[in-house]
């Protein structure tokens, strides 16, 4: 039981770290630019496809990862310049429609370019295999590497946001965009940087997860909604909120799926518990979101609602 708990907790943390990478960009785009971006999940998918392509071309996961980064920057910049830039002054409804259109375009383009069958990315040699954790418990090295890499990026992001000039502008922009613009900051450039940063982080998440998932066109969708929940729980514009929200959502989602039925079994008979558990488990994160919103409508760390 303890072993299962530790294993699932680690899985939860691993998912949480990935969700954080995606949610960090999304929350900044929402908070600073006030743009609803449904196409953020697409970037996660594109990152995975990039790494799959570059890794198979160069024969090395590391080269794939390295080549993915400039490609992600390019995708982010192009998206910002061509579409997102024109949406800053538009209503949320227009933003929803345009980015919904982008989702359709991207999913279809990916199908045309890479085909409909899922791709797989081999785990890099050094990170394959498992390590013993406690007793008979083994855990894949690659998943641990994801956790470490994600935490490293989170740490770097913390340093950039709290201790650099651009980070200061980001924080100021999330708090009061109009004032930052009035102080003579080139808001257009700042927005382009924010969007591209978010795009690269989402692509990175997709690239990191590629070896343990099958890379297909649906992968962005499921993650997008979870990321929305993370951003809403954490509070729009708050990186700290995104981090805690991501861990909370991922751990509740992972542990709830396994331990929900077990807990229910102590109060219900086994078959009913199994049935109820299967139905409740995927709804848990949304119930969590509803509960948090009842208490704090602006999310855990949201300044404005």
């Amino acid at each position: 039981m303890t072993n299962l708990f530790v294993l699932q907790l680690l899985n939860g943390v691993q998912l949480g770290v990935l969700l954080f990478l995606i949610a960090a960009g999304l929350t900044l785009v929402f908070g600073i630019m006030d743009v609803v971006n449904l196409a953020h999940g697409v970037l996660y998918m594109v990152g995975a496809y990039f790494v799959a392509t570059f890794a198979s071309l160069t024969g090395s996961f590391w080269w794939g990862l390295l080549l993915m980064l400039p490609a992600a920057v390019a995708v982010g910049l192009i998206l910002e310049l061509v579409v997102i830039r024109r949406l800053y002054t538009r209503s949320h409804l227009d933003q929803v429609l345009a980015t919904f259109g982008l989702v359709m375009i991207a999913n279809e383009t990916v199908k045309i370019v890479w085909g409909v069958s899922p791709l797989s990315v081999p785990t890099p040699e050094i990170l394959s295999g498992s390590v013993p954790l406690m007793g008979p418990l083994q855990y894949p090295v690659y998943r641990i590497a994801i956790i470490v890499a994600g935490l490293a990026v989170a740490g770097a992001l913390y340093l950039v946001i709290n201790h650099t000039r651009i980070g200061m502008l980001l924080r100021a922009g999330a708090t009061n965009r109009a004032m930052v613009s009035a102080l003579g900051v080139d808001i257009g450039k700042l927005f382009a940087i924010v969007f591209t940063l978010g795009a690269v982080l989402a692509c990175l998440a997709g690239a990191l997860v590629a070896p343990i998932l099958s890379v297909d066109t649906g992968m962005g969708e499921s993650v997008l909604i979870l990321t929305f929940v993370v951003v809403v729980i954490g509070g729009i514009g708050s990186i700290k909120g995104a981090f805690l929200g991501a861990l909370l959502v991922a751990i509740v989602d992972t542990l709830g799926g396994v331990f929900g039925p077990i807990l229910l079994r102590s109060v219900l008979d086994p078959s009913a518990a199994g049935q109820a558990g299967r139905m409740l488990a995927p709804m848990l994160v949304y119930i969590l979101m509803a509960a948090i919103l009842c208490a704090k409508p602006a999310g855990l760390f949201g300044g404005r609602g």
Binding site: D94, V96, G101, M104, E108, V232, M289
Partner: protein, 328 residues
Amino acid sequence: MTDMTASAPAGRAPALAGRVKAAAILFVLFALFPPVVMLADDPFLVLIGTRILAYAIAALALDLILGYGAMVSFGHAAYLGFGTYAVAILSSYGINDIVLQMLGAVVISAVFALVTGAISLRTRGVYFIMITLAFGQMAFFFFISLSAYGGDDGYGLSQRSTLFGTQVLENDFVLFYATLAVLIGLFAICHRIVGSRFGRVLTGIRENPTRMEAIGYAPFRYQLTAFVISGCMTSLAGVLLANQAEFVSPAFMSWHRSGELIVMVVLGGIGTLAGAIGGAVAALLLEEVLGMMTEHWRLWFGLFLVLMVLFSPRGITGLVEKIGKGRS
């Protein structure tokens, strides 16, 4: 949006009349559709027509809160799903009457809309969009894990609903006209709502909630009521859609479907009621035509959406007005 409100006081009466006239023209065209199809000898088109009408009902219901209440609900497909599953679940218990099934769909939708709406309406803007989306997904996942009704794969219906104990709806033409009757009835209701004191208050809240609060209206209550009404109406579309397809599955409630409903409303021009109906027709026809030309129709549909938002912010209505203005 601003120019619409600016011209509203002066053009209120003609706009109302225009809305009814446009809808009446659409309804006459719909009514003439089956006979024309008979001549073309392609009865399958009647089923496609029924599908379009059912989505028109959903778009109409969404326009009530999107256009008149400025509530961008991104989870409205959930109510379509409640409607379809009300048919599947009730008929598996031997309740085949369509009126009872509609009643069941409305009750469950009202409860869901009341609870999720009360939570979502505590927030606004981006939050509201994301929260309604999340609740829509919650319903989606609930029906995916409902293994008794096929889960992800869906559930085939053994027969269509009965109407007052008769099997008339088995006939595609009868189902078409029944759907049209529901659409016309709901349009009349929406038209009354929009013109009523309640509708005016709702529009007022859309324009300026603070001012409405200052003159003594509680926005929350009005918005929540409209949200529940809209959800219930959408579920009726779901009941008809289940009968049209004779099949239910969680695919009816995926978030793409919610997005498509918003597209329909915006395509026709928001806050015009008749526009939502026209938008549903336009969107679904575009889908059919593009689908016939290429298997990658989503690419072109997406491109069309992006271009429409960037260059014609007020949908087809706006485009028509622009062209009209250019001519005069």
